[in-house]
Symmetry: C2
Subunit: 281 residues, 2 copies
């Protein structure tokens, strides 16, 4: 529907190899953390200029970009988000763009969110929440070229409140996040468009998910500002071919500096992270 | 923060009594279902004119309005949503407006979504998803006048995929949605700002939730187009004082007619629903 880009999973496999990178650069533009000249602009313009500079600077070191929609929506800057994704697609067409939106709603409403993500913003993939079940995810899968990245185990403190509860499945007890991994791998992923979010806070749990889902791509936040252990994360998350993961870093890269050399600092942080990932993998 | 309206829970209690209504009118503007003159307008203008007509027509029969953000976001119509909420607050100040957004993300991102809901759109309450746990809900609670309505048991077919799984809590087995009700009632609701979404598809489950949460307000979708049983829903959901619920109806009211008399038809459908609710309660 209304895209000429390859499908997301192919884009990702290509980017892992041609970029020699497993790094996903998270774009969470917070005006209070930007360099002074940007802080003084209208949010809409600052967000685009900041994002554009980050994208150009980090593109050599990234397998994907992941803008977080809340940062834009909080400040009436959806147009900047849309322009940013279009800019990335035009200037860095080989790098997929994931819209981090974590939507979840009944089918008829999910169909509207899918329009938002794929027709309005033209993202290559979107993050979604599994709490409302399969029919809340299905409308995104109707876009056969797009990726659908389901929350499984999140890296925040409250991630354990529900996801770590033991659920009873046919007499077997397992944590809810593992059941979500099973559901997605064995039922929701019939079209091969799915991936999972698994936080870096608990490398042992990444290993459990990897064992359940085979080769499925994992988006792994929680490195950097959130403090996850990179070596343990890679040991747990890589697939048999040494890929299969997007190691997300947002704040540690995009706010590496808040002076006028922020883009150069971001490039350096992205390069160092990618080198470190490749050294450890 | 930047509001002069009473707190949401007080607004709701007042509306239940002064309006003599338990009806929440869901506003899901779908351009394909609108009358011909509106269908031919730019989406932004059609959404505002449609929403304004629905709000004015149904206000005498409603205890709350609930616009669904996806319908607006899919069509670049956030400004119409913002104007609609401002219009409702100005012309029907006694009726709280719930932003149905079902957001869920880590704390720093949730803080941005809270800005979106409460500072940008100035909603009186917002729906949120519990899958990422308490720190994903906490930033909304920082707005002490606002309501935070947590998804518990949803009315869609996939609602059972996760919510109906039995979880083990201190050796006791209970469905996940009941644990969410416990968590919200006993831990997350320390400030008294919370409510729960519990679908009308399973009245027995509404009863279970009511027994867990005491007087907490329940937002109950699934009546009307989704087919829930109104009498059984009321018997299960009402609190001891004969209130405590917002019975949501969207499509059955706002698309009661798609000719030029749609607002009059919506008023009639809202009035009939309110009368039926009051007869059965």
């Amino acid at each position: 529907m209304n895209t000429t880009r390859p499908n997301f999973i192919d884009q990702l496999h290509n980017a892992w190899h041609t970029q020699n990178s497993l790094l996903c650069v998270g774009i969470d533009p917070d005006i209070t953390k930007m360099p002074a000249p940007l802080r003084d602009m209208p949010a809409e313009r600052a967000f685009f200029e900041f994002g554009q500079a980050i994208i150009d600077a980090t593109a050599p070191y990234a397998c994907s970009f992941k803008p977080q929609i809340a940062y834009f929506s909080a400040h009436h800057a959806e147009d900047a988000l849309q322009e940013l994704i279009a800019y990335s697609h035009k200037h860095h067409p080989h790098i997929p763009v994931i819209l981090d939106a974590k939507r979840g709603d009944i089918g008829s409403t999910a169909a509207q969110y899918a329009i938002e993500a794929f027709e309005r913003f033209k993202a290559d993939a979107v993050t979604v929440n599994p709490y409302m079940g399969f029919d809340s995810v299905e409308p995104y899968l109707a876009y056969s070229d797009k990726g659908v990245i389901v929350l499984c185990r999140t890296s925040n403190p409250g991630g354990s409140d529900l996801q770590f509860l033991n659920v009873d499945i046919n007499g077997q007890s397992k944590p809810l996040y593992q059941h979500v991994a099973h559901l997605v791998a064995n039922q929701w992923n019939a079209t091969g468009q799915c991936a999972l979010v698994v936080g870096a806070t608990f490398p042992n749990e990444i290993k459990q998910v990897r064992d359940i889902v085979g080769d499925m791509p994992l988006l792994i936040p929680g490195i950097g500002a959130q403090g996850g252990d990179l070596a343990a994360t890679l040991a747990a998350g890589l697939n048999a071919r040494g890929t299969g993961v997007m190691i997300n870093s947002s704040r540690a890269i995009i706010y590496a500096s808040n002076d006028e050399h922020f883009a150069q600092a971001a490039a350096q942080a992205a390069q160092e992270t990618t080198i470190e990932i490749n050294r450890l993998k």
